[in-house]
Symmetry: C2
């Protein structure tokens, strides 16, 4: 059982899914149904018994583990350290920061009984951890020497969800949440942007192959308790926007509520400036909807838990051995590979199963091709099939994985570019956002007695991000009137 | 901030701790106080605001991440796949398996309100996940082809704790829990033992350098819902036992309660046979108490998040550069290293800080030694200091790390051996377990109207594990009368 090449952990589970009809509802017919279908048929996730909860199945979780590894490495490179704070927070902690409690109160799950007794003070199951972490920062930070203090945790959080949707909005979800404290506003600002750019944007673009609009949230879209929220927003294949990861400047609001202060070099007491930032299993939804097609998932090679599947067409005439050897060579070259030698199942059904799971490259090894010294290389991203010489297959796969990574990014960029239009009035937004993003002069958001943004919202459209006209980031306090608003229908 | 060699993430936090008194209460004076002291002064953990909860600080969490990585690799090698199941479980699920609900009811935390409303059915915060996972296995398992199904999850769980103690008994703790389903009782039995031996024992002995007694629990000490519980038990430096990880055979009890059945090769319907197994942040407590001494933690090199600290005594006369180069060379050799060039702090205080944190090797780089072409190598495990030639330091460190790993294991084995005595009557147990383990004939457990084990319990002693006289594992149903009971006072 110990050998991945033998156990085929993801392949085997796939057989259960494939017992049902293999076909997904086409995206063009019903995109939400396509999404439900792919979750079930690629065995990514299903709903739990308590409303809004999610079960992440092994293949879905393997993808999430790859996301975690990539994000975690970037967070550590940005100097933050992982820690763990309790799931349970006294209800009173939430009331200390006014905007924060107002934002989160409707979403809280509350524990009232523990160990068979009614509790004296109700306990909140964390929806986010600013309050509990800040209560410790207050003790740990005394001097400027303790700053910056840069923490992160990987955790589950709970936000009661009335209209749940797997991965996108679930009552419980998994995420990382960073919490930092700085001596100056400028340092907090720079760190919030460092996370935005070097952790989130870098991961999304270079690993997920998903282009993101990076910008500032409007006041209305800010995180409850933040002074500025920075966001990364991606376009899904139905033209809707999905918020991928956010980085917040918290100012000194929490620092004052939780008394997080320090003595500076001159001996003067100041409150710290803080940031918080998070990305969640929502990224799974983004990945599925940014790249998936009517045949299933399409995973970018840098992320894929299985980059290559070697499919033995038959095991006779040396094909079984050749497939096993090829898989071993690929593995030796550092490629994440699985061997599928389940020749008791129909070949076509196995091939379709690996397409559903979005494995970037499939190598078909059969006696006929082997007689010519070749195997067939099938790319998932563009569905091409090419014979390659067996003795060049490892090299060729390496090149194709790079090419497929780039191709998925190019395709996503092209789609976003084709589906983004500049408009000059709110009236044009409705039509433009039926199929994608609209770029709107920021001045329009406050037009009509300052109610421009609310008019958009009433039409089901929201401001995803504010950017400067040249696409760069505005400053935290730069007036929206001189900026461009990227607006869209959103998940 | 990006470079570990520069940021000294653990070193810097240490400075806060070291501002307080550096000295720990000696183990011989007050072992429990020593444990509390080391948690605080090595900055491992502290209590949360809700009774019994724990905050795991960055250095503690870095150690836990190393444990996770080592255990996770072994679980995957045993063929199990990671997945994630919800934190929230409907209360009714618990009532389906009679022994299980009886065992866990007193420890449950219950959510009664969500999203601002009282819930129709109360929700239990998972204390363990047999019930919710089994409700899905019932859907996923149809045929013998679906077996064995081998799942694991890394998660937080909640068990209301009346006498909490950090890492040892906390209301919320982190763990992995494996859940598997098999076609036959024999296959389930073998898999439970595979996890016990190849995951738990192997990790504990070869990474943690902690010898463990491996054996079967008595009926009374079994997991609620198991037919057989296998355990790994270690001796702490105060002679008490600590249960490290357990692997359970669940029989068909949950399978019948949750209707997990399959069609076998002959078309006959059968219920599956199951196992579950877990190891938790309790391992942190074990690590601390198995190896720690009056100067602080002593981490086995294979586990240590920082294996070597290069301590620049001064930065003048090339010592700063030499220390940085040495750290880079060690890192290049695959060693986990930190550079401590905080020469603004007293040298002795920094050295004591690294000893508290249990870093296996400290290399002191100062101008005087450098003039002779040497640095001083300080071993944490035996407190020796040896000059080594700078150009041989990397090689030498590699050898010393291996030696220190072996030495910690040998020391722990020696202690256990010296503190384990064979006794032939229950009367001798009390004295024997004041300082360590007693080996008792299994027949005594049922002596005195079958109340031998209860008599031990009344004296504060419990049966940790049953073994055959030759130390091997008994079968699940082997009569205790022919076995040896390892008994001890326990955490």
């Amino acid at each position: 059982m110990g050998d991945l090449l033998v156990t085929l952990p993801f392949g085997r589970l796939a057989s259960t899914g494939m017992a049902k009809a293999d076909v997904l509802t086409p995206q063009a017919t019903d995109f939400p149904q396509w999404y439900q279908d792919i979750l079930a048929k690629a065995e990514l996730a299903e709903g739990g018994p308590v409303r809004g909860t999610i079960v992440i199945r092994p293949y879905g979780y393997a993808i999430w583990e790859r996301m975690q590894a990539e994000i975690d490495a970037r967070i550590k490179a940005a100097g933050a350290q992982n820690a763990y704070f309790p799931l349970f927070i006294p209800e009173s902690y939430f009331r200390r920061e006014a905007e924060h409690v107002e934002g989160f109160s409707p979403e809280l799950a509350v524990v009232t009984h523990g160990g068979g007794k009614k509790l004296e003070e109700p306990i909140v199951v964390r929806p986010t951890s600013e309050t509990i972490i800040d209560s410790f920062l207050s003790k740990w930070i005394q001097s400027y020497r303790d700053l910056p203090l840069l923490l992160n945790q990987w955790a589950n959080v709970v936000r009661w969800e009335l209209r749940p949707r797997l991965f996108l909005r679930t009552t419980e979800f998994l995420w990382q949440e960073g919490h930092t404290a700085h001596a100056t506003e400028q340092d907090a600002h720079e760190y919030a942007l460092r996370i935005l750019r070097h952790v989130y944007e870098d991961f999304m673009v270079n690993v997920l192959a998903i282009p993101v609009v990076v910008g500032r949230k409007t006041d209305q879209e800010r995180f409850a308790g933040a002074t500025t929220t920075w966001s990364t927003e991606a376009m899904m294949r139905d033209g809707k926007a999905l918020q991928m990861g956010t980085s917040h400047e918290l100012g000194q609001g929490f620092a004052k509520a939780f008394d997080i202060s320090f003595l500076d070099q001159t001996g003067q007491k100041s409150f710290v400036w803080q940031t918080s930032w998070g990305a969640s299993t929502r990224l799974m939804g983004a990945l599925i909807m940014a790249h998936g097609d009517d045949a299933g998932l399409r995973l970018p090679p840098r992320l894929a838990p299985v980059q290559v599947v070697v499919l033995a067409v038959r095991t006779e005439e040396g094909a079984g051995e050749a497939a096993a050897q090829l898989a071993a060579s690929l593995r030796g070259a550092g490629i994440r590979v699985e061997l599928d030698a389940r020749t008791e199942l129909p070949f076509g059904r196995r091939a379709v199963g690996w397409e559903l799971k979005g494995v970037p490259v499939r190598l078909e090894v059969g006696p006929r091709d082997l007689a010519n010294g070749t195997v067939v290389l099938c790319r998932r991203d563009d569905a091409t099939k090419t014979p390659v010489r067996l003795d060049e297959a490892v090299n060729e796969v390496g090149k194709v994985l790079e090419a497929a990574q780039a191709a998925l990014m190019a395709e996503a960029l092209k789609m976003r570019s084709e589906r983004t239009v500049e408009v000059s009035s709110l009236e044009e937004v409705d039509e433009a956002t039926q199929s994608g993003f609209a770029m709107v002069p920021g001045s329009l958001l406050t037009s009509g007695d300052g109610k421009g943004e609310q008019r958009l919202n009433a039409a089901g459209v929201s401001v995803r991000a504010l950017q400067r006209p040249d696409g760069s980031l505005p400053s935290p306090d730069e007036d929206a009137a001189g900026l461009v608003a990227v607006v869209a229908r959103a998940y």
